[in-house]
């Protein structure tokens, strides 16, 4: 290789990394602004938006906003609620939706294509538009728990979980993935006398790591960011999730530093969760073969 082509190669690398880094900057700067602002007192935070100082931890840096935020709202409670509701929904969702997907792909049954069409149609119903009928309904649903039969689901965790377990997109993701699994494996298992449940649980699910990760993260994001529904169904503080907690910070004289601190606090767990899983996740989405 000649000398100039090495230089050329190096130059191209520099250009590439510069381009990549510039784009990265575009994607990350609001988050840096959030993090840095959470460390500044209000007057400085607002004054700093006029210059590059908005992105630099300079001036009167302290954790005062975090102390203030913890005083204003039971943040730990809200986070625990959100994480609990999110985790339970994700797990149950993975079960129900993968089973439905399995049924749609591998089993023949009467009404299947109608049912599948209905599921696809639900993809285009935004939640906001059915919230009120749903509220009227859940307020009258029965439940059997430790204190016997009770009516109405308001002010519970279940009202934040059960309606969101099954959704069209998750089922759709599973069907798309299952379609591409090698059918011979399943047929072989059936020939050997495995029940459908065994096929599902022992063969199909262990092969579905990628789609499970994808569906889990998408569901996690939806559930962790719930807002409208919890306002309607949680009248007691003990059940409220993080985005309802955000409202505690918008008072007549909003303490913006505390808002930034709270935003940072509620964003961190998701970012951490994502950063830990990101390799598996991106690899998984990429191999999920979502091919339309």
């Amino acid at each position: 290789m000649s000398h100039s082509s090495v230089d050329h190669h190096r130059l191209r690398l520099v250009v590439r990394y510069t381009l990549l880094s510039l784009i990265a900057l575009m994607f990350i700067f609001p988050l840096i602004f959030m993090l840095v602002s959470s460390l500044k007192p209000d007057h400085q935070l607002l004054a700093d938006t006029a210059s590059l100082r908005a992105f630099l931890p300079v001036g009167e840096i302290s954790l005062a906003n975090y102390y203030g935020a913890f005083e204003r709202a039971p943040i730990v409670l809200f986070m625990m609620n959100s994480l609990l509701v999110t985790a339970v929904t994700v797990v149950l969702s993975l079960f129900c939706c993968s089973m439905a997907g399995f049924s749609f792909v591998y089993l023949n049954w009467r009404g299947k294509s109608v049912a599948f069409s209905i599921i696809l149609a639900t993809l285009i119903v935004p939640f906001e538009t059915i919230a009120i009928p749903m509220l009227l309904m859940v307020s009258k649903l029965p439940w059997i728990g430790f204190d016997g039969l009770t009516w109405g689901w308001l002010n519970t965790y279940r009202v934040q979980v059960i309606p969101f377990i099954a959704d069209g997109l998750t089922i759709f993701l599973f069907t798309q993935y299952f379609k591409d699994l090698p059918r011979e494996l399943i047929e072989a298992a059936r020939v050997e006398g495995s029940s459908w449940w065994q096929v599902y649980w022992r063969i199909v699910m262990p092969l579905s790591g990628p789609v499970i990760a994808t569906a889990a993260i998408l569901k996690f994001l939806v559930m962790y960011n719930q807002y409208l529904w919890p306002i309607m169904v949680t009248q007691q503080e003990q059940y409220r999730p993080v985005l309802v907690g955000l409202q505690y910070f918008f008072q007549l004289n909003t303490a913006w530093g505390e808002v930034m601190a709270y935003l940072t606090l509620i964003t961190l767990p998701v970012l951490a969760f994502y950063l830990v899983l990101q390799r598996a996740f991106i690899a998984s989405i990429a191999s999920t073969g979502v091919k339309g």
Binding site: Y106, E128, D167, I282
Partner: protein, 360 residues
């Protein structure tokens, strides 16, 4: 739906059992409430009211969707000449004289001006019983038409950029994906600081880049820039997600095809045009569908950033549905909007399906 090669037999019982938990929950928590919404949309149901609910048929839809045309002649003086304003423009009678208790125009009763233009010396006005909703429909379509291709294209560009063997590429990939994992509400709050008209981050950046030549723009306060600003932010927030879907598509393309292209001496563009793009057809359909559906549901950004203003330039269909149903306590009107949205998106996806099917 699926060809089942394992057997020709039916597995009704197993099939139903497996599908039941997911399908049943969806019926109960999505389909049933939506059927309620359809029923509400045919009544005068209010969120709060002691008045009895009545069936009103399609009245809510008529109220929402009626459009009419009115052609106005310019006002003449007694001498029969056209009356002119000081600046030479013609004057026209007020539209409200036609739309309010005018026995000659009963079909225009209660309508309002949506938009109008000059045609020769006449004024042509398009009237609607609900111009705000009409603007919301137009804005929503604008949003979809701009965001869907742009977001798809940017995402593809990012995917091509990130789909190379470079040290540390994973870090970049993670950063590009980061906005996706942040709540859209949080994102909207942060971007209010960026778009602020007086000392917002964006204005300050433009100011220093242009050495003070660009005057600050009130991004969210100006009807000409508000919707565009929200589009830009929405693209920024979700582009990482679609980048990853494109990546998955890219990785299904066999490396041997690229090698063949290389041997034939294809340029970068030719490789993309004849190898990459054909391999991405299915992914493209998926990306387009997902973006379109998300774009039609545009709500949170509007709610946090503009409330539909300024001058209705950021009204959207879902925002109007919520504003009617909750804000103005008009559940039936809000439900009618939901149903209209459903019908619109359903028609579009049926069309999309029709066209993608024909090509096969």
């Amino acid at each position: 739906m699926q060809k089942n090669s394992s057997s020709l037999t039916q597995h009704n019982r197993s099939g139903w059992l497996f599908a039941l938990p997911g399908f049943g929950l969806m019926m109960l928590f999505i389909v049933v409430p939506f059927v309620f919404a359809i029923v509400f949309s045919m009544t005068n149901q209010r969120l709060i009211s002691p008045n009895p609910t009545q069936f009103v048929g399609f009245e809510n839809y008529r109220q929402l969707l009626s459009v009419n045309l009115l052609v106005l002649d310019p006002v003449s003086t007694e001498a029969g000449e056209l009356k002119q304003n000081a600046d030479g423009t013609l004057t026209y009678p007020r539209i409200r004289t036609f739309t309010r208790n005018n026995p000659d125009y009963p079909h225009l009763q209660g309508m309002k001006e949506w938009f109008s233009w000059q045609w020769q010396d006449k004024q042509v006005a398009i009237l609607a019983s609900d111009p705000v909703f009409m603007k919301a429909v137009v804005n929503t379509f604008l949003f979809v038409l701009v965001v869907a291709p742009l977001q798809g294209a940017f995402a593809l560009a990012l995917a091509l950029l990130i789909n190379q063997r470079l040290k540390g590429i994973n870090v970049y990939r993670a950063i590009y994906f980061m906005p996706v994992v942040v709540s859209i509400v949080v994102v909207s709050i942060l971007w209010r600081f960026i778009y602020d008209g007086q000392n917002g981050l964006l204005n300050n950046l433009l100011h220093s880049v242009s050495f003070g030549h660009l005057a600050p723009v009130d991004w969210l306060g100006n009807p000409d820039t508000a919707l565009g600003s929200i589009m830009a932010m929405s693209i920024w927030q979700a582009v990482g997600f679609h980048m990853v879907i494109w990546l998955s598509g890219l990785q299904t393309i066999s490396p041997t095809l690229y090698e063949a292209a290389k041997i034939e001496g294809a340029s970068g563009w030719q490789t993309f045009r004849y190898v990459t793009w054909p391999g991405l057809k299915n992914t493209a359909v998926l990306v387009l569908i997902v973006i379109t559906m998300q774009a039609f549901a545009l709500f949170a950004q509007i709610d946090v950033m503009t409330n539909g203003g300024p001058l209705d330039s950021t009204q959207t269909i879902v925002f109007q549905a919520v504003e009617r149903g909750y804000g103005k306590q008009d559940i039936s009107g809000g439900s009618a909007i939901s149903v209209v949205l459903f019908v619109i998106v359903l028609s579009i996806s049926l069309l999309q399906r029709h066209f993608t099917r024909e090509k096969k």
